[in-house]
Amino acid sequence: MAGSSSSKWSRTPVQSLPIHPRILSALRKGGILHVSSVLEESCSGLGRRTGLSEAEVKGLVSEVARAVLAGSPSPSTALSLYLTGQSQHCWGRLSVGCGLLDSSLRGGLLVSGLTEIAGISAAGKTQLCLQLCLTAQLPRTHGGLSSGAVYICTQDVFPTKRLRQLTQYFSQRHTHSHPSLTAQHLSDNIFVEHVATISSLTAQLEYKLPALLSTGRVGVVIIDSIAALFRAEYGAGQAAQRAAVLQTCGARLHHLSASYGVAVVCVNQVTAVMEERGGGVAPALGLAWASLVTSRITLSRDETVHSNLDCCKVPTAVKRELEVVFAPHLPPVSVDYYVTSAGIHGNQNMANCCPAT
């Protein structure tokens, strides 16, 4: 894959490293031409192929290993990471835009790794994602990432009208604390892309996204939804192929998240679970995909609508539930939320007015 270091090193000739010419010529004779092939061979295997002594092989391997790791930072202790986080009040979280929900999620979604938002249709997945596009633009001290968002649509047309509505509420709410976040500015930092096939998604992930991410203008990448493409293109008999492509995509997303420090959020659909005792729904795409997910959040909606149209003019809000199924930093919790014209909120009454910041 372009950009990942394994592919880079599989093209880099071993000659480019500062290694003794005698050892280089032995490597050439042994047919070991690229940096990666040194590490992909066991020490004894290298000795056999090149005729070098054990000590020479050891020196060579550690030299190559250091070169490969030169780009990544040296090991840090948990203490230094902890102190950095504490001093900067920045733990690598992306706020979901509501204090109540954020406190249940301990600050929001995890920026590292891959976050999945799964749920039945009309549970509020897209609403949550749209809100993330806006919160990402908040400064880091306010739970954002002070950068924009990429929104990759695969199943529907991007809900521009709804985004416009949300940006207006959002900029109004933050007009005092962050006057620079105008509705115009907010929408300018959301990059929308429509993708209809897996091959075009792969192309996006391989070429277009890295170019965009390297500008540093993007803090969150949202794919809405990952399930739509994979469920459409692969049938019942192609589970193995589907798993392989999913894993490549997932690995690519992990790589993007790690190398550009962006949060990756994937929307997933659900599938019916058949059990003797009834059953319910579970996120789609199976175990292969689940293994790639770092944090899994499911959304559901309560079908009994809380209608109070008669007594006051508060619009009806369906009670919905956000559940953390697994996440490295969170216990399994669930919290109620409501979707209103202003966005997603944890408190029904707060949903319509501007929350205190």
Partner: protein, 490 residues
Amino acid sequence: MLGVRQLDKQQERKPAVSINFSGSDQAVGQKMQRPISSLPLSSSWLAKLASCGFETVEDLRNIGVVELSRELGVSNSEALVEIVKVAKRSCELLSAQPAPSSPLSHPHQSHPSGGSCPGVSALELLQQEGVEGSIVTFSAGIDEMLGGGVALGKVTEFCGAPGLGKTQICIQLAVDVSIPEPLGGVGGEAVYIDTEGSFVVERVAEIATAAVHHLNTVDHDHTCDDQVRQAARDVSLEKVLASIHLFRCHDYLELLATVNILSEFITSHPQVRLVVIDSIAAHFRHGFSDMSKRNRLLGIISQSLIQLATSHRLAVVLTNQTTTRVVRGQKNSARVVPALGESWGHASTVRVVLSRYDNERQATLVKSPTHKTTTAPFVITADGIRDSHVTTGDTSHTPIPASQCLPVPEEEDFEEDDEIFSAAEGIMADMSHPAMWQGREGEGGGGGKGDSDTRANVDFVSVSNLHEASFDARRESKGRKRPHPSDHEL
């Protein structure tokens, strides 16, 4: 929660400690009179020890690093730790030696790394293993299952579906490895190799805070001796966090390179007693069209890890993902197995499978050279891994039917994974696999997906075996996307 006394007790349960070959305490007492000067230490240290009044090994027997530092008035912790270790080892070996005139090679002439040096007798290895100790998990059930915790000198693998607590166990172990020796720990540092971005330092701090709080309470226990209490006082969050070294690997080549430089890193950090790779599977489940290459690279990694484990006396802990294996042409053959194929199964000495049964987390020991297959329930709390309160006590007497111990996947729609390709190498799913891996009744779904012959037979498979895709088709044909209760009544 596990009391430190219990931790101590677990330490004592080690086989070699309880083995008394000579059966004569008097003989042991005599051997403890062995002079300090005969220990394999540098002469300057020997002189220092002698000048402070240490004469025999007995004097050093129950001393900790902290106390020794006070006695000698030096702060070179590495040297002190070495002294304590040498003294402790010699005590253990002496107390277990059959006779002073033993024809065995003298233990102190043997290489300190024990396992890797040639010409070591099995008896010595057994004694060594007793001294090596293990890292507790803070769940008495899991510790008991593993024989006192995650053993040093071995490769232990935790497998499980997502969300079962693999990462949490790794973080707990990385914290627990720093429990000082007087409190029943190994007093070491940890190398944590994160391949999935799931190392969240806040969570580490949370688990560490709970552990530190727990250890500090020992200080108020006046029944403990001063040395233990001093060690308990010395534990702090900063020390625990400073002892965890994090490496982040973004692809398999970086992982290979990191494993290669580990030995160097550990030589410069001799206190490292734990290497965690969370997870080994992440970079090896994509991008490999050539399965034999993948297996070879995994082999290289596992060889390096086993070598590290034995030569540096440290525990290696790996996590592995799970996959669904379907055997071609066999109906109801789908079962959840650890990922990375059959050949990887040989890489770890101890293999623990995490599963969920009736909303309870369970750890099942499926491979161990020393312990029988048992299942231990556990819970994950804000403080970390703990015993399940419901079934505290002896879990081995309440065995759970093996057929129920399988790791339950998060979803029903099983699918074949890369493992199906292992068939191309002539490695078919092993039917003699422990009953652990039997599919649950009604869940053995799949019915040979990916095989055109069996696909035609899909109508004959029970409802629960139907694939997700067929639901999709039905749902869409009915013009609604959400699953409906009637979907369940076919």
